[in-house]
Subunit: 77 residues, 2 copies
């Protein structure tokens, strides 16, 4: 089965990379952009067995840094 | 309004980073994982005016490399 895990900075954590992108977009004339924050997304294919448990675990322990990041996931099909 | 833009490698493009994560997960015992591919996600806040056009343009011209990447986007609220 397929799953998608999104990992993103907690709202209270500064995102200098997003800030830089926002400034670049303003420089290019896209001045309707108010905020940009960047995250990561992982597209995973895995066996059905215990899939929910496996996804939760790898997101929490491997893919996200729980000090500064949150995650959400969904399955496809 | 809020929008989310996902940028991901085209299916025919190798993803060594995803391969590395997959191998790391196997080493940790998560051997039900068959494939991992990594992408980027941008959370954007922007003015309503021409939002769809602006999102399409910045995704195509700035956030994604159209030679090797595709993107999809959706708005929230």
């Amino acid at each position: 089965m397929k799953a998608k895990i999104e990992v993103f900075l907690k709202p209270e954590v500064l995102d200098p990379q997003g800030e830089t992108i926002k400034r670049a977009l303003h420089t290019l004339g896209y001045d309707t952009i108010r905020e940009v924050r960047q995250g990561k997304v992982f597209y995973i294919e895995l066996d059905e067995k215990d899939a929910g448990k496996v996804i939760e675990e790898i997101a929490r322990k491997v893919l996200a840094n729980p000090v500064i990041e949150d995650f959400r996931w969904e399955t496809e099909k």
